[in-house]
């Protein structure tokens, strides 16, 4: 590399990025740590020109976050959605990717279709899903319309379910969210896994064929291990995304984050943080740090596990 005598030039090129990142990325990190550990911190108190607040340092914000009843709901919802959607979407994406990789005709067309959900606005398409699960209540005992999903259920001989209208049950709400989140998460995972499959040297499969290896054994002993770095990748990013779940719920249930009459039943960590912005900055900061800690720990666990199970 050229030994540039004009070091200032490099800094000149970097200056806009550094200035913006200092203000909007580095300072927030420092400030979040500061606010989180100042007891009872709010911007309003700090900025108050009449009273000179002296905040004491402590972990009160964290304690308050954890003791706040709504927070446990948020944590529970977040973890539940993560634990349900990541394995389901990864497994489905793997099946689809392997199936796509094994065919020739229609492969490109199907690949394009499976990628379509990626290029969507998660709030907008969330509204479509809501329309599909939603019932329109009329005058009679049976709703005027039970929604297309229920229509399908009834056609299959089941009874219709109140998925997300007033009075719907928690598990039904979760099912709706899982369906939507999985649908939303599939394209990215399929893309990565299919890319991984296509980059596997074909000769491994030919070698396995020469040895008469049964299909399932090829899958478990060759495909999965060779794909393990990509699998680890989609699982880790899946968990990170899962812990930040928010807008998909707004898409389906709106800002009330729950069915009518049961607001915030499906609130999440990010939702909690957002609502604390503008009034309870200390609490919001503490919650954000907790979220970061959880994501960090889960990612580390994932990495440790994948290091053990990815063999090369």
């Amino acid at each position: 590399m050229v030994d540039s005598k004009h070091q200032w030039k490099a800094w000149l090129y970097l200056a806009p990025a550094i200035v913006l990142l200092l203000i909007f990325t580095v300072w927030p990190i420092i400030n979040t740590l500061r606010m989180a550990f100042l007891e009872g911190y709010t911007t309003a108190k700090e900025a108050n020109p009449f009273i000179d607040y002296e905040f004491t340092v402590g972990i009160g914000n964290f304690v308050r976050v954890i003791q706040y009843p709504g927070f446990m709901t948020c944590l529970q919802n977040t973890i539940l959605l993560c634990v349900l959607t990541v394995p389901i979407s990864t497994f489905l994406a793997l099946l689809i990717a392997v199936a796509l990789n094994s065919i020739k005709p229609l492969q490109r067309l199907l690949q394009t279709i499976f990628f379509m959900p990626y290029v969507t606005n998660s709030i907008a398409i969330g509204m479509v899903f809501a329309a599909m699960f939603n019932m329109i209540i009329g005058g009679s005992a049976r709703p005027d319309s039970v929604g297309i999903i229920n229509n399908v259920l009834e056609a299959l001989g089941f009874e219709y379910i109140n998925w997300m209208n007033a009075g719907s049950e928690y598990w039904a709400n979760i099912v709706v969210m899982v369906v939507y989140i999985v649908w939303n998460a599939l394209p990215f995972k399929i893309l990565i896994l299919l890319g991984g499959l296509q980059s596997v040297n074909k000769q491994y499969y030919e070698a396995a064929r020469v040895d008469g290896t049964p299909k399932w054994r090829v899958f478990t002993r060759i495909t999965i291990p060779l794909l393990s770095p990509m699998l680890a990748y989609v699982i880790i990013t899946g968990f990170i995304g899962g812990f930040k779940e928010y807008s998909s719920i707004v898409g389906i249930f709106g800002e009330s984050m729950g069915p009518v009459g049961n607001d915030y039943a499906l609130d999440t960590m990010v939702g909690f943080i957002y609502r604390a912005i503008g009034n309870q900055e200390g609490t919001a900061s503490a919650a954000a740090l907790i979220l970061f800690a959880i994501i960090f720990v889960v990612t580390m666990i994932n990495l440790a596990v994948s290091k053990k199970s990815t063999h090369y």
Partner: protein
């Protein structure tokens, strides 16, 4: 197990739909590989040698013709039912498995009567590993092995299920020059010890000549000549085979036959019978020249390369097709560079005549 190829043909449909031209990779190949022999398929790239190997393996289906293992017609059998071992050019060792797991892998696929216990498998794996001398490396991953060691593991994996036929695709091409020499002897030894009919593909004539019991020279999908390496070298059927075999390569001249005499340019080099007067292409092996002050062939001397036992004399001749004429003579002969010219007589069994148009060999009798 002998392997018989009968009118074997492979036609690939054209990739470019507009051009619509098919590619005939292998054209009407008939050959019998005797039991327990090592056979080299030899030719420049695109000659159809790899396609032939893949058809024997069953990974590719022939467009026409039949393949027999012994008396069994295996043409319709899928790869896994043919009982072959295949060593890939880049070895295709499973990168996530240890050497031991790689070698055990084929055994774990055996079903029914062939099924083995764990101990039997291990014993077999260690026996094969010992045979190819990698029993010290069983716990390593392929990425921790040198190219030559990976090659041995690949051979071990192909041998462990005791295949009826062993197939090797360019087995030495990924090794450096020193290892190549060593490994080809190794392959020869292993083949001899196991007695498994072995077919390998190479573009390197030296490699094929040095270890094969028989070679098959191919060009553009068509078999040019088959036979023992020395026989093919000494008696090529056409100019292509003559040019393809031998290092340094054969010297090619424009010449003619007139009144029972062979001329290279104006130089009369040999008297023969049984050939009508015509223009011919003449090939002379480098070792076919003898220094002879009274010799018929006169060349302009350019250089003498000393190689110890032999010397290589580089000269030019106006009728030579190549820029230079290269002969190999015994080092006892002293060549005087200052003389500027060198005169040769030609050993009659080292000179070949070819038809100018068809490039087929023209046989003659020495007078």
């Amino acid at each position: 197990m002998k392997v018989v190829l009968q009118n074997l043909t492979k036609i690939f449909p054209s990739r470019d739909k507009k051009a619509g031209k098919e590619v005939v990779a292998v054209n009407d190949f008939t050959f019998e590989i005797p039991d327990g022999k090592l056979v080299g398929l030899l030719g420049p790239s695109g000659c159809g040698k790899s396609t032939t190997l893949y058809m024997i393996s069953g990974l590719q289906k022939p467009t026409g013709g039949r393949i027999f293992f012994g008396e069994d017609d295996v043409t319709e059998l899928t790869t896994e039912n043919r009982g072959i071992g295949l060593v890939f050019q880049n070895y295709a060792l499973y990168p996530h498995m240890t050497v031991k797991q790689n070698i055990l892998f084929p055994l774990q696929n055996l079903k029914g009567a062939d099924k083995m216990t764990k101990d039997q498998m291990l014993e077999r794996a260690y026996n094969v590993a010992k045979l190819v001398q990698i029993d010290e490396l069983m716990e390593r991953k392929p990425s921790e092995l040198s190219g030559g060691q990976q090659q041995r593991v690949a051979i071990a994996r192909a041998l462990v299920k005791m295949p009826r036929v062993l197939l090797l695709d360019e087995p030495l091409s990924n090794l450096d020059a020193r290892l190549r020499l060593q490994t080809r002897e190794e392959i020869r030894r292993i083949q001899k010890e196991t007695g498994i009919t072995t077919v390998f593909v190479t573009h390197d004539q030296e490699e094929a000549m040095s270890i094969s019991d028989m070679i098959v020279v191919m060009k553009l999908g068509v078999v040019q000549q088959t036979g023992k390496p020395q026989d093919v070298y000494d008696d090529p059927t056409n100019l292509f085979v003559a040019k393809f075999l031998g290092t340094p390569p054969i010297n090619v001249f424009d010449g003619c036959v007139k009144d029972g005499k062979v001329y290279i340019g104006q130089d009369k080099v040999l008297e023969i019978s049984g050939v009508a007067d015509q223009d011919v292409t003449i090939g002379i092996r480098p070792e076919g020249f003898e220094l002879d002050p009274a010799g018929g062939l006169t060349c302009q001397l350019s250089n003498v390369e000393v190689m110890g036992r032999d010397v290589s004399v580089v000269s030019t001749h106006p009728a030579s097709v190549n820029p230079s004429v290269r002969s190999i003579i015994d080092a006892d002969n002293k060549v005087d560079l200052g003389a500027g010219i060198v005169r040769y007589s030609i050993k009659p069994h080292k000179i070949f005549l070819f038809n100018k148009e068809t490039e087929e060999r023209i046989y003659f009798e020495v007078k």
